[in-house]
Symmetry: C2
Subunit: 198 residues, 2 copies
């Protein structure tokens, strides 16, 4: 029915996360309606990003700089490395504005079923960084899922003989979370790890 | 935090229909992860579409051809024109494979509140087509909303003195629709317009 070009762009948009064939068509029609104000800027932005944005050789973050703006920032504390699964998690931590150290992106989590072993992740590079640089602390900030905790455990084991302190994120009730809606694991942990207020 | 390029592309993706800042970030990280297999094809497809896809001078459809593949197809019945609000509706009708005439895209609906009068839509072009070509029937397929019906009514008035037959889509229960979930207007129309089965 439609021309090859429209079919091609539909098929590619439908492969983006959160989009299907229907929403892909909606996006394309919207772009075609706003060719100069939206489609051309998008085309240029994708081209620029494609050409300029690369993985940081140190931490794995995406940036136009290499080392990235975090690794090359003299105000960031290079002695603390926060280990995250992916760049999305790194950006989520950055948005809080509370962490002033540096990061290390693993590029995934250990998963025996999917055949993802330590060699598939940037774990060796992390161990090298931990041992060669003036690193005092490694914060393991992988998610609290089975693969996340397996990965954290594996990395902690690798770092057992090094001089760095290995820490993890605090667990407990999320801010604004209601007891009634929270899972038993979280509530159980929160009550066992309760803290004195006075 | 992030480089200008990443912020720019995030802002543009967030303006696409159905995407917000959060899903825009997700899409961009996905694209950056799959630079060669997804981001470069997307970049090329957008560039091609931007350069090659234009509005058909006859019906307003988007296509690389002008007249479009429908208007230039000798098998399509040029004596029947189906009038639709936008290209999305045209494509929706084409997907059914049941209509073998041609189309006319209005580019919107009459809306006094939004200041959209007949001059803002391709209504004059439709009247010219209806009178100059060998057209027998105009099907008004605008939606069954107030602006849709107002627009259909206005066009029908314009065509009152021409020789063409003006028709509208059938109304009633959608296929697979359950009575209990349908609005009163649809059920009321369906019972009044009931048809003999035997």
């Amino acid at each position: 029915l439609n021309s090859k070009e429209i079919k091609d762009i539909e098929a590619i948009f439908a492969r983006l996360p959160g989009l299907g064939p229907r929403s892909a068509r909606r996006v394309i029609l919207h772009l075609l309606k706003k060719k100069e104000t939206l489609m051309r800027p998008l085309s240029n932005a994708i081209k620029d990003t494609l050409d300029l944005v690369k993985n940081c050789d140190y931490c794995g973050n995406f940036d136009t700089l290499n080392p990235c703006n975090i690794c090359s920032n003299p105000d960031r504390d290079k002695s603390v490395i926060c280990v995250v699964e992916n760049v999305a998690d790194l950006w989520a931590l950055e948005r809080t504005g509370t962490f002033l150290g540096t990061y290390h992106v693993l590029g995934g989590l250990l998963d025996a079923l999917d055949g993802i072993g330590p060699e598939e992740l940037y774990i060796n590079r992390l161990i090298t960084r931990a041992n060669s640089e003036n690193v005092n602390e490694i914060i393991l900030a992988t998610s609290t899922t089975v693969p996340g905790q397996t990965t954290a455990h594996y990395i902690a084991e690798c770092l057992k003989d090094s001089k760095v302190i290995v820490t993890g994120l605090a667990h407990g009730m999320p801010m604004g979370g209601e007891l009634d809606y929270m899972d038993e694991g979280t509530i159980g942990h929160a009550i066992r790890a309760r803290k004195s207020i006075f």
